[in-house]
Symmetry: C2
């Protein structure tokens, strides 16, 4: 009937059953280790399975079991990549995804990855389609309003990695507060920098908002002079960070003694822009990041930053989601600890990493 005849009909459980001379129920039982099939039956079935190269259809199993063993992960596809280093930022996402994958694996789940474009139409519909293919949903970025989350959450449990918990979804994130607090303490109290700015990330990012808020509170409490506001608005990207610095310098403003960047990418861009104008880091201006992406230690100077347990973020996201499948209720948020990583961009020199032991420090670090 179709124009193209199927290369070869894919065998179903019926084919296996008839070849083995048993019922489909028996086939299913031996394949899934249910009941206690006679050894003879078992053998016949296995032989037929092998002979036919039978592979059970996942969709049919899912429909029957009401379980797909799939967790969907969605992120927002960014725009262009201007700085070559920008590609690094993938890493952050991807390491989280790796964590999700590892945790999923333990439960026999696979990970369905999907992205939505910044200017895709009808994002809620796309997400619904994805949710329909999975048992649970992890959202990297804030792509749904609270009511939209609530609607979807009736279908699958949802964990968000950006944003705040909602009545219907769980949030997993790092402890932005103590990260910024440690940074401020180090810069203001230990280094004695009295004039300090926050180069912000995405304006609508909850993480960024949280960092900005703690920055202001803590820097103020520490007695530092603060620079914030529209002139310091970045977007988590290297270009964003570079642009802020460039405009600031173009407008003839004085730079603060230290710049706390919303993330490592931003710091990278800022440092490039400063270098281009001949401003020395950390001698003229100290710069710090947030995340501790791998490239952070390769910058000149090596970047002082806050390390997030990136992979654990993913593992936790899955575990929390998993425990929510089938059961409602439970915790609404999980906050993971961070660690201050002191390198040289803050003004320290060759100071070793502080904190709990990790893999042996790479030689480039010593």
């Amino acid at each position: 009937m179709a124009g193209v005849r199927r290369a070869k009909a894919i065998p179903t459980i019926y084919d296996v059953a008839s070849r083995a001379g048993v019922s489909i129920a028996s086939v299913s039982r031996v394949l899934n280790g249910q009941g206690s099939p006679k050894a003879e039956t078992r053998k016949k079935v296995l032989r037929a399975v092998r002979a036919l190269s039978f592979v059970p259809d996942g969709a049919a199993r899912a429909l029957s079991n009401n379980l797909k063993e799939v967790v969907a992960v969605v992120f927002r596809r960014g725009g262009e990549v201007a700085f070559e280093d920008e590609e690094e930022s993938l890493l952050f996402l991807d390491v989280i995804n790796r964590g999700i994958e590892i945790a999923a694996q333990r439960r026999g789940f696979d990970v369905l990855i999907s992205s939505v474009g910044t200017n895709d139409e009808n994002v809620p519909a796309r997400l619904a389609a994805i949710a329909g293919k999975a048992d649970g949903l992890i959202l990297h970025d804030q792509m749904l309003s609270e009511p939209e989350i609530a609607r979807l959450a009736d279908v699958v449990p949802i964990v968000t990695l950006a944003g705040r918990p909602t009545p219907k979804s769980i949030n997993v994130r790092c402890d932005n507060g103590s990260g910024i607090r440690a940074l401020i303490h180090h810069l203001v109290i230990e280094h004695g920098y009295r004039n300090i700015a926050y180069l912000s990330g995405g304006a609508d990012s909850p993480d960024n908002l949280a960092r900005a808020r703690v920055f202001e509170t803590e820097a103020f409490a520490a007695g530092a002079q603060i620079q914030v506001g529209p002139a310091w608005q970045g977007d988590y990207s290297a270009v964003g960070g570079a642009n802020v610095i460039a405009s600031l310098l173009d407008s003839g403003r004085d730079l603060p003694r230290a710049i706390v960047c919303a993330n490592d990418q931003t710091a990278l861009g800022a440092m490039h822009a400063l270098a281009r104008r001949g401003i020395k880091v950390p001698d003229d201006v100290a710069v710090t990041g947030f995340d501790d992406v791998p490239v952070a230690r390769h910058l000149h100077p090596p970047l002082t930053t806050v390390r997030q347990p990136i992979k654990e973020l993913g593992v936790t996201a899955f575990d929390v989601l998993y425990s929510r499948m089938g059961t409602a209720g439970g915790q609404h948020e999980v906050v993971l600890p961070v660690q201050l990583i002191i390198r040289e961009s803050c003004g320290c020199s060759h100071r070793p990493v502080v904190g709990p032991s990790r893999a042996p420090v790479a030689s480039s670090e010593t």
Copy 2:
């Protein structure tokens, strides 16, 4: 019956139909834009869908349509990560996956990611389970024997990214030959290095084998003295590369004038090991890589390497796979071009990137 009562029954198409006062066929039609439902019907259905937060079940659709709109991607999970930079190697995989995802998106497909551990039992069974959840399979690593591939290929089309094409699967890869050829030409002819080694990657990796073979042929043809063999056996990892150098030096052997490493990770490890012994790159020994991962340009000295079009690898893998769904036959392999990236680890100094235009060169490169 179950211990936990379902939080709230998830609405099905039947619920929508009865609430809208139409048949499930009509609901399906308006939801999928099939036929030409009356405006009135359309309105009633949409209202009910909204009221119930209805999301069609993907498994049921897939079963009915014989199409899951899912492509599975499987890679091999590595062991420990010793060098912190090693995490970079993720990037290679992840950038390919991003390419797959982008291409998949265009066709309305999502990407099912799964990994198998190096010492997982019954890999073929795991892969069969994954294949059962998808319409096509992309294998990053060589995890199946040819007969095993043949069996699975009866169920879903398969594209391999490592390995050679088989009668039943398609291979997508980069042009290892011309990459190595360009490297040899540059090192032997242009720099005049007469003694040169190949620090190999995974012993059973087809890419590695191809590179090694071309290395020997070309270096020989160029009249260089060649060092290869067990002493030069790495494993694509930084530790692997470092170990080779360390043992070589421990055994008191003379180093060649130039070392062509199987990939960037290996080069990174080798350079660390050389630096630790006080051997200067490129003055004492030139080192080159393969891949051009982002960190390559941050090494000291910046790494001369061969750039693979990583994302395109993924895009191509999906496209080729997609065109194979439903239809059999077609091409059995696709080979993508590479580009020599000359930096400083070969002995050149501050020479700009050669080749077709890319994004503006990052400032760290000038």
